[in-house]
């Protein structure tokens, strides 16, 4: 089976003589908040398993992140980013949003694990060279659980959508605060350092 048969939508190259398709990213994408060179300061995952490289836009409750698929990526196979890579990119988009917000509030980012995937549908694979853009929408944020809906795509192609549940590691500072609440012998000012 050829690799193109995996992929049911037409190729990304426009036919000769036709104008190139317009870029569908909004204007704010021209000035990303986090670029590839500094992304590892915001997420716990590091090279070679960092599967997100740009944070385009971030606002309370939603964010847009991107990954330019390079040919030497660990999860690239036969010229396409594999399904595992697409799902991991979706998860790390959430981590990048959380890391950026934590940095904004001068807190250290918390390590998050994928706890569950629910009704995740994959529609296409991403070819090397394309930029996979993931939109993250927070459905529910509890103390240590995060429920998000993510949608990913490149150019005009929908790649994946689904719901993801992430477990966040308890914050060390929060532990101290809880101990301060329940044990009077811990000095109260300790809770704020």
């Amino acid at each position: 089976m050829s690799t193109t048969a995996l992929f049911s939508s037409p190729g990304t190259e426009p036919a000769a003589g036709l104008p190139t398709a317009p870029c569908l990213l909004p204007a704010w994408a021209a000035r990303p908040l986090v670029i590839a060179a500094e992304v590892e300061a915001y997420i716990p995952q590091q090279y070679p398993f960092a599967l997100v490289d740009t944070l385009y836009h971030c606002q309370p409750g939603e964010a847009w992140a991107g990954l330019r698929v390079s040919p030497d990526n660990l999860l690239v196979q036969n010229g396409y980013l594999s399904e595992a890579g697409i799902l991991e990119s979706m998860a790390q988009a959430v981590a990048l949003k959380a890391g950026y917000e934590a940095q904004d509030q001068a807190a250290s980012p918390r390590v998050g694990f994928i706890a569950a995937l629910k009704q995740v549908h994959l529609h296409a694979l991403v070819p090397v060279g394309a930029t996979l853009v993931t939109h993250v929408r927070i459905v529910l944020q509890a103390l240590d659980v995060l429920v998000v809906r993510t949608t990913s795509g490149y150019d005009t192609t929908l790649v994946a959508d689904g719901e993801m549940r992430l477990f966040l590691e308890p914050e060390p500072a929060l532990d101290v605060a809880i101990k301060a609440l329940f044990h009077a012998d811990v000095p109260a000012d300790h809770a704020h350092c």
């Binding site: 049911s8 090279y47 398993f49 196979q77 595992a84 998860a91 569950a116 009704q119």
Partner: protein, 129 residues
Amino acid sequence: MRTANHLLLGSFFTVATQAYEPNRLQLQVQINAHHALFKGHFPGRPVVPGVCVLAMIKDVLQQHLAKDLLLRTCTSSKFLRPIDPLLMPNLDLRIDYTRREFLLDFVASVQHQQQVLCRVAGCFQTDFL
């Protein structure tokens, strides 16, 4: 054995023992804790990424059925505990699957010494244009 179409089989994990029943696969796999991806996930603290469990299931089924597969849906998957490849290099992988037209539904679980680490259900596409 065709290895060209495997993303992780052979490098990230190897199959130690396997047992087949109709529509069921039971394997013991060995995770390579020195694989390059553990340098990044996470530095100094290796954890098997949840998506790599899905990729492992795909590789194992591809090899067993001698067919190319494409993950189309992950109906539900629960990763109950982080999998540390240093503490638990041997994992028991159990995959139940059923053919449904051009799809392959599967339910899989990963265990380490009777302790369930994750459960995954979804479907693969088996036939392509």
